[in-house]
């Protein structure tokens, strides 16, 4: 294999490129990205960057020297617009055709929007800087969507002295993802800090003076942040012959077609650990999957299924929330360490007869690690939950 193209120059694409070099690939390596910036990290955008604590350069994923050491052909500021599988070429927005022997797709996701004019989204460095410039004491911010992203932004905006209204269609924020108990704990944290959290309301439109709700009621604001989920960046693959269904569909090796792999937020693959097709929007998954895709592309005979225990963290106020495994669709939640009301606890999640997930706040690493271990091993629920007495 003499020419490998990686499309998407962020966490997953960079991890893939670095892994190819670490594994000894010395052919041509082309990294294509539509943003003008060198690869940078997104989690700080809704945290330190939005809070104004970090300069815009700080989220860079690598130093210029480290990047130069990779020997890449870096094509930044130019989008891939098409893929011709049969010819093995990628088409770029500037009209060039880039041939490949191997291809890794890592184009991530983009925010969903709402009807109407204006409103911020928070996905890129430029988005974060734009919103940060508009936040100041006394400014009224409406955040649409109380998922992790919206909740983090709300927490930062409160700390900056803004009046924050958080609008959420579900009765309890994040309940579908983490369960009612944990969702209610997060709700209380926002209420205590003076966020005007309104659940069970649907926003239909962004207006000049704020947003409008489904029942016609207006909610006034100086700034609106839309945080209502995201859509995989797969439009450019239309007509390529790849299967796209809420993400690039891959097998358990992250392969989408011969010598074509996908990784990160855009990839939908079969995770054998939970026996289901999933697409994960977590920072750690982007790196792990980029690495796995690169290794499998280089070594077709030694391919390994990509079977990670997903890991996610979120910072809200003084809480660091860490979640492992698969929480969604769980059958039962149990608090297995600590206390929800003190915001120091581990919650374990049961699906069927297995422990499939865990969520921790304010717990030391050694306690958290054993739950990650239990999830990776597919430990029986009663065994895991019964075993906790020994370590408490």
């Amino acid at each position: 294999m003499r020419r490998i193209v990686v499309v998407g120059a962020s966490a997953a694409g960079l991890a893939a490129a670095e892994t190819l070099r670490r594994e000894g690939y010395d052919g041509t390596l082309i990294l294509v990205g539509d943003e003008p910036h060198a690869p940078y990290d997104r989690p700080p955008l809704s945290k330190q960057v939005l809070a104004g604590e970090w300069d815009p350069e700080r989220p860079a994923l690598r130093t210029p020297d480290d990047l130069a050491g990779l020997g890449l052909v870096l094509r930044l500021g130019v989008a891939a617009t098409g893929l011709r599988l049969a010819d093995g070429t990628v088409e770029l927005a500037d009209g060039s055709l880039v041939p490949y022997d191997g291809l890794i797709l890592a184009t991530g996701v983009r925010p969903r929007r709402l009807p109407g004019q204006g409103g911020h989204v928070l996905r890129t460095l430029d988005d974060a800087l734009r919103l940060r410039d508009r936040l100041a004491p006394g400014r009224r911010l409406v955040v649409v969507g109380a998922g992790f992203l919206g909740a983090e932004a709300a927490a930062v905006a409160r700390r900056l002295g803004c009046d924050v209204t958080l609008l959420e269609p579900a009765p309890v924020p994040l309940a579908h993802a983490v369960g009612t108990e944990v969702g209610e704990m997060l709700t209380r944290a926002h209420l205590e800090r003076g966020v005007d959290l309104r659940c069970g309301v649907t926003v239909t439109e962004v207006t000049e003076s704020g947003v409008r709700l489904a029942d016609g009621e207006p909610v006034d604001a100086d700034e609106v942040l839309i945080a209502v989920g995201s859509l995989p960046n797969t439009d450019w693959l239309d007509g390529s012959g790849l299967t796209v269904a809420d993400g690039v569909v891959c097998d358990e090796y992250c392969e989408a077609a011969p010598n074509v792999y996908a990784a990160g937020d855009v990839a939908r693959w079969h995770n054998p650990l939970f026996g289901q097709s999933t697409r994960i929007e977590h920072r750690t998954n982007a790196a792990e999957q980029g690495m796995a895709a690169a290794r499998n592309l280089l070594d077709p005979d030694g391919r390994k299924p990509f079977a990670p225990v997903p890991y996610f963290w979120s910072d809200q106020y003084d809480m660091k929330i860490q979640a492992f495994g698969c929480l969604r669709g769980h059958d039962e939640v149990a608090i297995v360490h600590g206390d929800l009301t003190e915001r120091r606890f581990v919650a374990a999640y049961r699906t069927g007869d297995r422990v499939t997930g865990a969520l921790a706040v304010g717990m030391p690493p050694r306690v958290i690690r054993q739950w990650r271990q239990a999830i990776a091993a597919g430990t029986n629920w009663l065994e895991a939950v019964g075993a906790r007495e020994a370590v408490n």
Partner: protein, 64 residues
Amino acid sequence: MKVELEADKCVASGQCVLAAMDVFDQDDDGIAILLDEQPAAEHLDGVREAVAICPAAAIRLVDQ
């Protein structure tokens, strides 16, 4: 080879400890601790894995 850790970037994920236990540990808040700034050759693969997998890009391995 020397390991550099920017602890103020660390998000306490513990990925580095899983990748290279002899080189990294975590304090009670989960923040990474560098146990060995100049790890022996046999630990370098693990450190490279940690550099690649750290979700905060907080670890670097530099030539001296």
